[in-house]
């Protein structure tokens, strides 16, 4: 038996933990660069504020209804998420942290899962002020569906729904849109709709051969799961398979040297993250693109993968590869809005097979240099950089409505009378 625990309006809930005085007002959280709405509390939803609403277009409307606007504070959300996941893991044998605000748990062997989940829900609410919805079922796909029922009908379900009978399973499948089934992307949903499959029940009623032919074994597995036969197990949380540093710029960049300076900074953050988790990467992906939403400007986007001669976390090697990549994809005459550097194909630092042609000496020197860099930056703040990196504040993320880091910075903890 599985349960899916999902935090309600997670980012907005995090912003309200320390601000009960604004809980009755509409609350929204904006994306990086304060671009668009990525989270809303119930009041904001009732005002017909949508996910993806563009902030600067809705500014007046927000003011009119006294909407409380927050820039995304990922430090806070990360900490609260970690707290909640720790609490959940103390309630079960096995947990799969599926995303920042969702976790699957294994409830097999539990005599009274409903009661246990009620306790857990209450405990999370008491200790973190965050409300969760919980779906319980015999398979992960059904648990996800049960969770959707709990979320959609909070009053009837009190936030917990257990598909514990054949009758409930069929009722759920008749209700559940195929596009809302876990694992069915919008592309597949359209394809299925063309085949007259609209609800989960239609999918289950289709014959196995047909599903396998059109949607492969993965589609068939999904069918079994909807039928209540568990085939998907909890997955281990693995070390990060890739590390990405990507940003939108607050103004468009046209100049190669400006772009180069930006991606150098991304490369150095990437390399620092790699060293922190003691990984190396074997290739670097660089991408740049213009603003998708500016239909009036010429559009261009390009990415490139530069393999490294051997797995590496050296800031020098990564920056070198990044520059090389940028040089190859950069085109004059475009206004670039976003760029990023992604370290691909990560592996453990200790299991790297060294290229026999590379000078070991050189590598040892670079490693020592990188560690010194990290140490200095830890000690003095981010002050020591390669010459190609930028120094000023000019590229900082736009975050005009950031809340304090209540749980991670001593000088930002909540002030209480």
């Amino acid at each position: 038996m599985f349960a899916l625990i999902d935090c309600n309006n997670f980012y907005a809930s995090c912003e309200l933990i320390f601000r009960p005085e604004i809980a009755h007002l509409p609350v929204v959280v904006l994306s990086n660069q304060d671009g668009c709405v990525i989270a809303r509390n119930a009041v904001a939803k009732s005002l017909d504020i949508k996910m993806g609403d563009v902030y600067f277009q809705k500014q007046d409307y927000f003011k009119l209804y006294n909407v409380q606007v927050f820039s995304s504070n990922y430090t806070l959300y990360g900490d609260i998420s970690h707290r909640i996941m720790t609490i959940i893991s103390s309630y079960c044998k096995d947990i799969e942290v599926y995303s920042v605000d969702e976790a699957f748990i294994d409830l097999s062997g539990q005599i009274n899962p409903n009661q246990l989940m009620e306790e857990l829900k209450l405990y999370i609410r008491q200790t973190t002020q965050v409300n969760v919805s919980i779906g319980i079922a015999s398979t992960k796909v059904l648990a996800k569906a049960a969770n959707k029922i709990a979320k959609t009908y909070p009053e009837q379900t009190k936030g917990i729904y257990n598909i514990d009978s054949e009758e409930k399973r069929l009722k759920c499948l008749k209700w559940l849109k195929i596009s809302d089934v876990w694992g069915i992307g919008s592309q597949y949903a359209r394809k299925l709709n063309r085949e007259q499959i609209f609800k989960a029940i239609d999918y289950v009623n289709a014959n196995n051969e047909y599903i396998k032919k059109h949607f492969s074994v993965v589609g068939l597995r999904l069918k079994y799961e909807l039928e209540g036969k568990s085939v998907l197990k909890l997955e281990d949380v693995k070390a990060k398979k890739s590390i990405a540093v990507t940003r939108s710029f607050d103004k468009n960049l046209t100049d190669f040297s400006q772009l180069k300076e930006r991606v150098s900074t991304f490369a150095s953050i990437c390399s620092e993250k790699l060293r922190k988790q003691k990984s190396s990467c074997s290739a670097i992906l660089v991408f740049i693109h213009t603003n998708y939403f500016r239909k009036d400007l010429p559009r261009y986007s390009k990415s490139i993968i530069i393999p490294l001669s051997e797995p590496n976390s050296s800031v020098i090697e990564i920056t070198k590869a990044t520059h090389e990549g940028l040089k190859l994809i950069y085109k004059k005459g475009y206004a670039y809005k976003k760029a990023g550097v992604i370290a691909l194909d990560l592996c453990d630092e200790n299991v790297i097979q060294h290229n026999i042609f590379e000078e070991i000496n050189n590598r040892a020197k670079q490693n020592a240099l990188c560690l010194t860099l990290d140490k200095l930056n830890g000690k003095y703040g981010d002050k020591v950089r390669l010459a190609s990196q930028d120094f000023g504040e000019k590229w900082k993320m736009k975050q005009n409505f950031a809340s304090p880091n209540y749980t991670t910075k001593w000088n930002e903890i909540l002030a209480v009378e």
Binding site: P20, R83, Q126, V416, E417
Partner: protein, 151 residues
């Protein structure tokens, strides 16, 4: 050097912000004099953990918050700028101090009087909050200790 191009749309659909997680820490026993055979240092049998404030005041980090006190309503139990250690997993029992929000107010530090249904300030110059049946009281947690830096 090999260069592989990939289609941009493949890239952007799957692209998302990834934060690197903290390394998993593992605690192991440390034997300063090594583990080789021979006559052991007699003190090795008496190695204990060092005293840790976390262990005593934040033993459940996932249910511990720190807040800074402002105002004088809890004088002289607390002074302005004291850092209160709040345990959110503990119920506030009679006459213990907690952080409360009444009917969606800002959080306030008060002593709970369960018998008389009151939230009491320790400073008598401040007013008491009476709690009726219809009031909604939200409790962030119980104040279990405080830190005060001496100047």
């Amino acid at each position: 050097m090999n260069i592989n191009y990939i289609k941009p749309q493949d890239l952007f659909e799957g692209l998302e912000w990834i934060e690197s997680k903290d390394l998993q820490r593992k605690y192991v026993n440390f034997y300063p004099s090594g583990v080789s055979a021979g006559f052991p240092k007699p003190t090795d049998d008496f190695i204990e953990h060092k005293l840790s404030l976390d262990e005593r005041y934040a033993y459940n980090p996932e249910t511990t918050f720190f807040v800074r006190l402002t105002g004088m309503s809890m004088y002289d139990t607390f002074l302005e700028n004291d850092i209160l250690i709040v345990h959110t997993d503990k119920r506030v029992e009679n006459l213990q101090v907690g952080i409360f929000s009444v009917n969606g107010s800002k959080y306030t530090t008060k002593r709970l009087d369960i018998k008389n249904k009151l939230l009491l300030p320790d400073n008598k110059l401040f007013s008491t909050i009476a709690i009726s049946e219809t009031d909604v009281v939200n409790c962030l947690g119980r104040v279990i200790a405080f830190l005060r830096e001496l100047t």
